[in-house]
Amino acid sequence: MKSGWKIILLVVLIAILLGAVCMGVGLMTGADFTRIWATLDDKYHVDMYYQYFMEVWALLQTELL
C-alpha cells in the first residue's frame, strides 16, 4: 500500500503539472473560456444540465431547510 501511494501520487502530480502547463500555454496563446464554454455547450448541452441541477438544488434547499 505504501508503494502504491507513492506511485499514485507521483502519477497524479505529473499529470496535474502537465495539465497546468497545457492550460497555461493555451491561455497564453489566446484561449477564451467563453468560447470554450460555448463549444462544449453546443456539444454536451452543459448549460442546460447546469440550470437543471441549480433548480434541483434550490428546491432541496426550500424543502429541507
Binding site: 497545457c22 497555461g24 489566446g30
Partner: protein, 380 residues
C-alpha cells in the same frame, strides 16, 4: 584392488550414476570431460589409479558444485542447444574448474601423452578456460614424468608427494582418501562402515607426515566441509528431485533441529472462553459500526472518482469534437489531464479505504481478540 579391474566404461557409468545430483547438462559436460581424459591418457590404468574411484570423483564434483547458483544458469541454458559456460559471472562453473585442475594435475604426472598440450580435452570446453586455471604452468613436465613412472609401478604412492611440493589438489586428494576410507559402495549408495578404521591404517600418507600438516587456516579445505559436500550422494536415492530444491540439509543440522524439537515443549493455543464470548459480543457491533463509518468516506471517494473520471473523459473527447483553435484545444487537454489525475487519486483513495482501512480494521480486531482471549499452554 577394485580400481585395477575397472575400466573406462565402468568408471564413467558409475560416475554418471553418482552425479545425479547435478543438472543433466552439467552431468553430461562432466562425463564428457572425463571421457576425453580417458581418450587422451597414455595408459588407461594409470589414469584410473590417478582418479582412484568414481566415488571419489563424485565427491570432488559435489564439493565444487552449487546447485543453487547453477539453477538459474541451467534454466537459461536449457533453451539453447549447447550449454554456454562463458557467462557464469564471467567465469566457468566451479565443477569444470575442478575437473580442469584434476586434468592438469594428471598432465603434470605424465599420464597424458607428452606431445599433447595441456588442454587435453575438447577444445570447445577447455580452450576457453585455460586462462582461468592458473596452476597450468607451475609443474615442469620432465621431473614429474619420472615420478609418474614410479607411480605407475607403485600405485599406492600416487597421491602422496613431498610436503614441500604439495599443491592444494594433492592435499585435497589425500583428505578425500582419508574420508572415503570410512565408506563403501553397495548398490550405488555410499555406506558408512560401522567399524571406524583408524586413519593410520587407511591413509599411509597422513601417517607418514603427521607433523607436516599445515595449520587449519592454511588448509585448502576441511574434512567437515567435505562431509557436507558428500551428503548429496548419500541422500540421492531418497530424494530424486533434490537439485530442484536446491537445499542441502546436513545431518548435523537435522540433529540440531531434532534436539531443539525435543527440548522445546509443544505449545497449544487455548481459548479463554468467557473473555472470548465477551469480546465477540462487544467487538462485532463495534467493528460493524466503525466499518460503516469508514464506508462513508469510501463511498464519497468512489463517487468523486467516478465523477472526475467521467468529466475528464468527456472533456478529452470534447477536445477532438469541435475546437478549431489550438489555444482552446490546449486548455481543454490540460483540463482533461487535471480531471483525470484527480479522478485517479480518488479511485486510489477508494481502493485504500476498502483494502487498507476496512480490511485492516477487521484484521486488527481479529488479532486483538487472539491476543486477549487466547493463551499458550504447554502440552506434556
Amino acid at each position: 584392488m577394485e580400481v585395477n579391474i575397472i575400466n573406462k566404461q565402468k568408471f564413467l557409468a558409475e560416475l554418471g550414476r553418482l552425479l545425479t545430483f547435478m543438472y543433466e547438462e552439467d552431468r553430461q559436460t562432466a562425463l564428457a570431460m572425463y571421457s576425453k581424459m580417458f581418450d587422451d591418457a597414455v595408459e588407461e590404468q594409470a589414469l584410473l589409479q590417478f582418479l582412484v574411484s568414481p566415488t571419489r570423483q563424485a565427491v570432488v564434483l559435489a564439493r565444487s558444485y552449487d546447485a543453487k547458483e547453477r539453477k538459474l544458469q541451467v534454466h537459461t541454458q536449457s533453451r539453447e542447444e549447447e550449454p554456454d559456460y562463458s557467462d557464469y559471472n564471467n567465469q566457468f562453473p566451479p565443477f569444470i574448474l575442478a575437473i580442469d585442475d584434476l586434468q592438469q594435475s594428471a598432465a603434470a604426472k605424465g599420464i597424458f601423452s607428452p606431445a599433447q598440450d595441456l588442454p587435453a580435452v575438447d577444445e570447445n570446453q577447455f580452450s576457453l578456460f585455460d586462462d582461468l586455471s592458473a596452476p597450468a604452468d607451475e609443474a615442469e613436465p620432465a621431473p614429474v614424468a619420472d615420478s609418474a613412472s614410479e607411480d605407475l609401478e607403485q600405485p599406492q604412492d600416487l597421491s602422496p608427494e613431498p610436503a614441500s611440493e604439495k599443491d592444494p589438489v594433492s592435499e585435497f586428494a589425500d583428505a578425500v582418501d582419508a574420508f572415503l576410507a570410512d565408506f563403501s559402495i553397495a548398490g550405488g549408495e555410499l555406506i558408512s562402515s560401522r567399524s571406524y578404521k583408524e586413519p593410520s591404517e587407511q591413509t599411509p600418507p597422513e601417517e607418514a607426515e603427521p607433523s607436516q600438516e599445515p595449520d587449519e587456516d592454511q588448509q585448502p579445505f576441511h574434512l567437515e566441509d567435505f562431509a557436507h559436500a558428500q551428503e548429496p550422494a548419500e541422500e540421492e536415492p531418497e530424494e530424486e528431485e533434490r537439485p530442484e530444491d536446491g537445499e542441502i540439509v546436513s545431518a548435523q543440522e537435522e540433529i540440531f533441529l531434532q534436539a531443539g524439537e525435543d527440548q522445546a515443549p509443544a505449545m497449544v493455543r487455548k481459548a479463554k472462553v468467557f473473555p472470548l464470548i465477551l469480546y465477540i459480543i462487544f467487538s462485532i457491533p463495534i467493528t460493524l459500526l466503525l466499518a460503516a463509518l469508514l464506508l462513508i468516506p469510501t463511498l464519497f471517494s468512489l463517487s468523486f472518482a467516478v465523477s472526475f473520471v467521467s468529466a475528464g473523459v468527456l472533456v478529452l473527447t470534447g477536445a477532438f469534437a469541435g475546437f478549431s483553435i489550438f489555444a482552446d484545444l490546449m486548455v481543454i487537454l490540460g483540463l482533461a489531464l487535471v480531471l483525470l489525475a484527480i479522478g485517479l487519486l480518488f479511485t486510489w483513495l477508494f481502493i485504500w479505504f476498502i483494502g487498507g482501512a476496512i480490511a485492516g480494521l477487521i484484521r486488527g480486531v481479529i488479532r486483538l481478540g487472539g491476543k486477549w482471549c487466547y493463551k499458550e499452554v504447554a502440552v506434556q
